[in-house]
Subunit: 277 residues, 2 copies
């Protein structure tokens, strides 16, 4: 199954087709649900998110930030060597200046997005660590720290990375819709009318379907198909309303913000303007 | 949901309870299925598995092995700092001597397994790259290389790591069954009778249920719940018979090998022997 866009083997027109973008966004839902489920195996472990809570990191790695931030930096450095952050749909949490250069020759990506400064990674990090983890990792037995900091961090890095890619993918939606109808967008961009721009890219019916579909995925992937050896543990791996809440309260509104921010920064050619008459 | 054993907060008796081990093994099935599904997003990319196929790795990283092996080394180095390979249920593909020391104080794990040299990581690597990936990543359009080497390698590392942990977990099964009935095991260990030892730890009925459950998980998690924008792509994410085949032909027999190898190396105390009468 390859619903996802392959930036290596596609033209800009193919990548920016709204059908292809929607298929990719839907495939990302599965990844996000899978990764949240994996995180629920471990306790909240608040200590992981507090700056300086692991003196070993300061002593051995000169790191004064959080355990999670250090883990993000480690993984993102390794992925930087793979060239991950040169792809037009990938945004690291660590600042690019702290990451190493790619090993492979840079891929010649098609011309997709206009240059921009949109990056909401820190907002994603905030809502994930403050609003999502404490709820999905809440345990019946009340244990808030199980000392599984390595495993928890690995899951966090993967879940965060999937959510971050999803949110920033909104820029492809904006670019696709802009190209389809520049005349509708140009006057609103010039007027810096956020509300009107949001109106142009938002479809409440699509959003309602999205939330329904995400609920269904969480319901199905989150069920416990194991035998009930220990009756008390035969429960869902994740509550589907938590996944719906993640989308409804965080992913959808933040994606909209990304979409509008990108449009406001997007270069408007005289010909785009001209077409508004 | 926390079916999995937490080595940080449990006694040896708790960890070695057969119910707990079975629950952990079942939870691992979900992880394995999820990660195989993620890998199916990308083509086979045979080049990733061939030594020296990426000259950039040789030039910039002095690495003459494969792209996958380099990725494993990168990720496993980072996880070594997290202390992952000091846990009694974790085995890296990279040789331990090439990996850095942990940053955190070593965890004081309970006494579980006897010292042993069992490590079948290279067998896992072989069947995964030669028998599993070419089949699950086979595409209708016949594309065998999509150049998504970074993303494919990330998925491979995660799937391999889950499968490897599953296979080596067999040692806990052996240890648990040995402790429950040393008198049955000791004479067979002394006689180095592999077949009899395999008979003591194998339950065909449990295996049949396992394969049925794995088929069900692959069937349910591998369905495509997306809207059919592009009709031709509305297909399953993974064929469930491929996951069953992975378990039946590779994971189950290799786990059995691990279980017997461990028993043959296990230290037998005079009191264990005495209890055989």
């Amino acid at each position: 199954m390859t619903d996802s866009i392959n930036f290596h083997n596609a033209t800009a027109e193919d990548i920016l087709s709204l059908d292809k973008i929607r298929a990719t966004l839907q495939r990302m839902e599965d990844t996000i649900v899978f990764r949240l489920i994996e995180r629920t195996q471990f306790a909240y472990n608040r200590r992981m998110y507090e700056d300086g809570a692991f003196p070993e990191l300061r002593d051995k790695e000169h790191w004064t930030g959080s355990w999670l931030a250090w883990n993000l930096k480690e993984v993102e450095s390794s992925h930087a060597k793979l060239g991950r952050w040169t792809a037009p749909d990938e945004y690291p949490f660590t600042s690019l200046a702290s990451l190493p250069a790619p090993i492979l020759q840079p891929v010649d990506y098609p011309d997709l997005l206009h240059p921009h400064h949109v990056n909401v990674s820190q907002e994603v990090l905030r809502f994930y660590t403050e609003d999502i983890v404490p709820r999905i990792a809440a345990r019946k037995d009340g244990v808030e720290d199980d000392r599984q900091y390595g495993s928890s961090a690995i899951c966090d890095v993967e879940a965060l990375s999937a959510i971050n890619r999803r949110v920033h993918f909104g820029m492809f939606v904006s670019e696709s819709k802009f190209r389809a109808d520049p005349a509708a967008f140009v006057p609103r961009i010039r007027a810096r009318d956020r509300e009107a721009l949001a109106g142009l890219i938002t479809k409440p019916a699509v959003e309602a379907i999205l939330l329904k579909r995400v609920a269904q995925k969480a319901e199905i992937y989150g069920q416990n198909l194991d035998q009930a050896h220990i009756v008390d543990e035969r429960q869902r791996k994740i509550q589907s309303q938590e996944v719906v809440r993640l989308y409804k309260e965080f992913i959808v509104p933040l994606t909209k913000e990304v979409e509008v921010d990108y449009l406001l920064e997007r270069y408007v050619r005289p010909t785009d303007a001209g077409s508004t008459g």
